[in-house]
Subunit: 307 residues, 2 copies
DNA sequence: ATGGCGACATAAACTGAACTTATGACAGAG
DNA sequence: CTCTGTCATAAGTTCAGTTTATGTCGCCAT
């Protein structure tokens, strides 16, 4: 009976209202296996521990999650919903883990990857997850920087495989295009541009103050060159996340990589504005020192990125 | 010195390698405020606690995250990267919380929402987050079910606002289209269809065995009617998540709501196959009992969904 | 210079949540 | 009618995270 006043706590941080990761993993295991004891075994804890953990999660959320019977346990309707939300958290945690694992082994690992920021943030954790599923023993290291830094690492033999975004390939490197990244114009759903039917012209874009990354950033370079150096900043922010936040908040239109806003678009927190006569596409390339074709784990990772 | 053998633990569950939510929140606060003590104050803990928490997170990840100086604390390069991954987790947790909060207050709340599964899973948590930012005191309840169940609740005055996906509006309800959901054909990046240039025809789609939701599900109904009842199942699975997993694993092409695969697409775990002469669009509608135009919080929520 | 302020570090004692071990109760299958 | 699976309950233990209380370092204003 400790949670009587539920509903008017002091902006209590999330961690008091959202179960911790271990509990969410347990819930997913229960959903998959249909048994508390089975899930417990899989996670290497005892059955009473699992039971108690699920129970305290139910108390915390104020909703019954599983129907327990002497024949096993099934999710309730609410439980199924909660499990789906939990899965999102666990997936984000897996990406975190994959990235962190790579970061941790920076020094002493076997596959050393150097990548530009956008790729390192949004794409690599997923690829590393897949690579680990395929070759669990490979220790991967990750270094993030701009194109020049990536090239430098590769040429100094401090990295085995690199990933860059941008139009030109640094000299001394061979490359393969692995994907195309489009910069897109996005606004909050309430913005006038969200209701446009006709596509936006380059001139209109150049004439409108935009929320942008700072000068010198990769995305900014692509935009400036496509527009002839004319992009007019409404605000300049130093991280993709800050730009997204400003756009979601309705500060104005922003130009961002579609990789960075996949979720915001599908959740309709942001809306993409079609563009007519300007192409903001750029290639994402895997790169390596000329002649040193990737072998071993580097080759596997490369294969993964190309599907 | 307990973590000597780091790197070869027994498939150790995530929770041992990923810091818990509270620590991630703390990290975000430090990133934002530039100070350990400040972040501690914001989260309602003491400064040594914050320091120790960050430190143990650094030990856990094996990477320095913040540069501590007598003048404040800034993120290291690795710290910035980790913070971005952490933010994804925290965002997922916020969506979880928004949904759970609604679920919890099912009985005694002021705004009662009934929604179909896809909307409840993928869209509503985001909307509720926005609603709570705007009207923090509104207690929201959520019931998920199929279109008929939604209609029933509304007509019985057990819900104030409903959301349904599908072609027809149940009788007795007024509605507004709030968004369009497209079913799309997706495959793993390795599948032959991922390399097609020409769009897929309806006949080809009907002739190919697909990974599908079970008969009776909303997505299956739309597909069957668009194809004239001809969809040929390769496997039938009972949840969107299972279909996604099978498709990502390369089992074959799947047909899914674009809402369900936004992230997979932007991460290139799945690729969308363009479709030529078939339209798999369906409207997402807000619904309410004829004549009872939404007022108060229901009206606010409705406004949010339309941007 | 020199106090004062703000930031972080260190040490020791405390608290509590979550685990384990050990057992009991219930349902269905052979 | 016992055997095997399931979950529940109880009591004891462990350990991570917290607080309180101090120490150190750099910066700034007087």
């Amino acid at each position: 009976m400790t949670e009587v006043a539920e509903g008017q706590f002091r902006a209590g941080s999330l961690s008091h209202r959202v179960p911790e990761l271990g509990a969410l993993e347990l819930l997913l295991a229960v959903a998959r296996l249909g048994s508390l004891g089975g899930a417990a075994r899989e996670l290497g804890i005892t059955q009473p521990a699992a039971s108690s953990r699920i129970r305290s999660m139910e108390r915390q959320l104020g909703v019954a999650l599983v129907d327990r019977s002497p024949r096993g346990s099934r999710l309730t309707d609410a439980g199924a919903l909660v499990t789906d939300w939990a899965r999102r958290i666990v997936e984000a945690a897996e990406a975190f883990d994959a990235g962190a694992q790579a970061l941790r082994d920076r020094r002493d690992s076997r596959l050393r990857v150097a990548a530009s920021m956008t790729i390192a943030e949004y794409l690599l954790p997923g690829w590393l997850l897949a690579l680990r599923a395929q070759r669990p023993d490979t220790a991967v290291s990750l270094l993030a920087g701009n194109s020049a830094a990536v090239a430098e690492r590769l040429l100094a033999d401090e990295a085995d495989l690199g990933f860059v975004e941008g139009v030109s390939v640094p000299t001394g490197l061979d490359s393969v295009v692995i994907a195309h990244d489009n910069l897109i114009v996005v606004t909050a759903p309430g913005h006038v541009w969200a209701r446009r039917r006709r596509a936006l012209s380059g001139a209109e874009l150049a004439a409108t103050p935009l929320i942008l990354r700072e000068e010198g950033s990769g995305t900014r370079q692509v935009l400036d060159s496509a527009l002839g150096g004319l992009a007019r900043p409404l605000i300049e922010l130093s991280s993709t996340t800050a730009v997204k936040a400003a756009a979601v908040g309705g500060a104005g239109p922003a130009v961002l990589s579609e990789l960075a806003v996949g979720e915001e678009l599908s959740m309709r927190r942001l809306v993409s504005v079609p563009l007519a006569d300007v192409s903001l596409a750029r290639d994402l390339r895997a790169v390596w020192p000329t002649g040193h074709r990737p072998v071993g784990p580097a080759r596997d990772l490369l294969a993964l990125t190309r599907g």
